[in-house]
């Protein structure tokens, strides 16, 4: 029998009040400030900006504070916030070749113009916890080296000249970059839409898929051709002015993955590429994105689709952590009526089963 019920307003109100209290924690401990989160939890801020798909460090910090450090909850908050704002337009495409570089490495080419710049990396640390960080001790100023500034070309541009490596990806003449925030996705996708989805995709999900390609599921022998992190200018064309305006700079991480090279009837063998570009400093995400981008190009490159990482519909449909968490976590909401219906169904099935069993027994006895 279906009985409509409602209730729980007071419980919900009190639960939210309790949440606010627990979020704040012990009042004897000073409240964390947004600029502390921006400055000292900057990679968490970067992740929220990347997967929230909204570049604004203060907003991401606020979301992290409100979400008690639950980054997927923070990403959800940022996604919800963006829906309240109007869209002014689309920027001109940012020029990563003109980046002010903070880190730039290539695992494939030792001697490249501009050199290997390690920047602020966790690489080569010993991953030993530092007890001194428990105190707020002084931190030395970084070293400086006087070196003339030089244009630092992308590795793929240096290598591209002799056709050893494929060119940057082009789309058919006259095509406009798809925007999944405006149009629902319909498969199959073009590479531009896949890259948009991957750029906002869950780091952990993409990392796992990227790892699967290394372990042999859609293997493509990747090299980190180049990883660069730094600030790029953002420009916007607006109706009221005749020139593109510079709006400021944002930090991005770019990964050029260089992969194997089968070639085709039309193309001689050459290195193929996967591309990653992510808001903020996030090498792991940019590398995972590049590996997934390369795997998802299977159809375009005429490769057999044998592995999950090559399955565009599977990867892109499940890469968004706000969608994923929404559907997984909705199971917590009351399903009392659904469950009641299934309970009734099982009771009927069991009664049926019992009856058949008994009739069977009786028939057996009669036969004996």
């Amino acid at each position: 029998m279906y009985v409509a019920v409602k209730g729980g307003e007071a419980a919900i109100r009190n639960a939210h009040k309790l949440l606010a209290d627990r979020r704040r924690g012990d009042r004897d401990v000073p409240a964390i400030e947004l600029n502390q989160i921006v400055e000292q939890m900057s990679l968490a801020v970067d992740r929220v900006m990347a997967e929230g798909s909204l570049y604004d460090p203060e907003l991401a910090a606020l979301a992290i504070k409100q979400a008690r450090g639950d980054l997927i909850e923070a990403i959800f908050l940022v996604r919800a916030y963006r829906t309240t704002l109007q869209r002014f337009g689309y920027s001109t495409a940012l020029e990563t070749s003109k980046m002010q570089i903070e880190r730039r490495i290539s695992a494939a080419f030792k001697d490249l113009p501009g050199g290997q710049l390690l920047g602020p990396t966790f690489d080569y640390t010993h991953r030993l916890l530092d007890p001194e960080l428990a105190e707020d001790g002084p931190v030395d100023a970084p070293e400086q080296r006087d070196e003339p500034e030089a244009f630092t070309p992308r590795v793929t541009d240096i290598l591209g000249h002799d056709g050893m490596i494929e060119e940057d990806g082009e789309m058919p003449e006259g095509s406009v970059a798809g925007d999944l925030t405006r149009e629902p996705l319909t498969f199959p996708l073009e590479r531009d839409l896949r890259l948009q989805a991957l750029a906002r995709g869950d780091e952990g999900f993409l990392l796992g898929l990227a790892y699967s390609t290394q372990r042999g599921y859609a293997r493509s022998h990747p090299f980190a051709g180049e990883i660069r992190i730094g600030e790029v200018d953002i420009e916007l064309e607006v109706a009221e002015l005749d020139f593109p305006l510079t709006l400021g700079t944002i930090r991005v991480t770019e990964c050029q993955m260089v992969n194997q090279f089968k070639g085709s009837a039309k193309q001689p063998p050459q290195f193929t590429r996967g591309y990653g570009l992510v808001f903020g400093q996030s090498e792991r995400k940019a590398m995972s994105m590049a590996l997934c981008d390369r795997a998802l190009r299977a159809r375009e490159l005429g490769e057999d689709i044998t592995a999950t990482a090559q399955d565009e519909e599977f990867v892109i449909s499940h890469s968004d952590n706000v969608q994923s968490t929404g559907f997984v976590e909705h199971l917590k909401l009351p399903h009392y009526v659904d469950f009641q219906a299934e309970l009734d169904l099982i009771r009927r099935m069991r009664a049926e089963h019992e009856r058949k069993h008994q009739t069977g027994e009786e028939a057996k006895e009669a036969a004996e």
């Binding site: 798909s53 002010q100 080296r145 070196e147 925030t181 890259l195 948009q196 109706a239 005749d242 305006l245």
Partner: protein
């Protein structure tokens, strides 16, 4: 939309490039910095706000492979404002972030910069200090990054 009466609509003409550079600096001013410049500005004009300051989104675009076809990377918050001074001069400003008062003041300085009799003062009192700070930050970052450059040494071979 308020369209300027530019002498030339060709992109890349000198007045446009100069104004583009000026507006780029104003967009990169910090909120306290530009507030201080305004506080120190002598003969303050009447300012009427024609639009905003209002915050919205710009979809930022990357390029496939770094230099190929554009794709949509993700959005950024952007604030814009348009003001008119007492003498009718119109100024615009757009900047990343949500600092409304900063962007309103940037639009005021854009309008002032377009006045031939104010331009020098804006360049000296506002643009030059912003440019200097940005250059110092850039040079410092460059020097700090350069210190992490790997110098490869050829190992002495042990077989002779």
């Amino acid at each position: 939309m308020i369209k300027e009466n530019n002498q030339s609509t060709e992109t890349g003409n000198v007045p446009d490039l100069e104004r583009k550079a000026a507006m780029a600096l104003l967009a990169q001013a910090t909120a306290p910095e530009i507030a201080a410049f305004w506080a120190g500005w002598g003969d303050k004009p009447d300012v009427e706000t024609l639009r905003g300051p209002e915050t919205g989104l710009v979809m930022l675009r990357g390029r496939i492979g770094g230099g190929g076809a554009p794709f949509n990377l993700g959005e950024a918050t952007v604030t814009r404002a348009t003001v008119r001074l007492g003498n009718g001069a119109v100024g615009h400003a757009y900047a990343l972030g949500r600092h409304r008062e900063k962007v309103r003041l940037a639009a005021v300085f854009d309008a002032l910069w377009q006045q031939p009799d104010c331009r020098d003062a804006v360049e000296k009192a506002v643009l030059a200090p912003i440019a200097e700070r940005l250059e110092q930050q850039r040079a410092l970052k460059h020097a700090q990054t350069a210190a992490t450059k790997v110098d490869f040494f050829t190992m002495v071979r042990g077989d002779d």
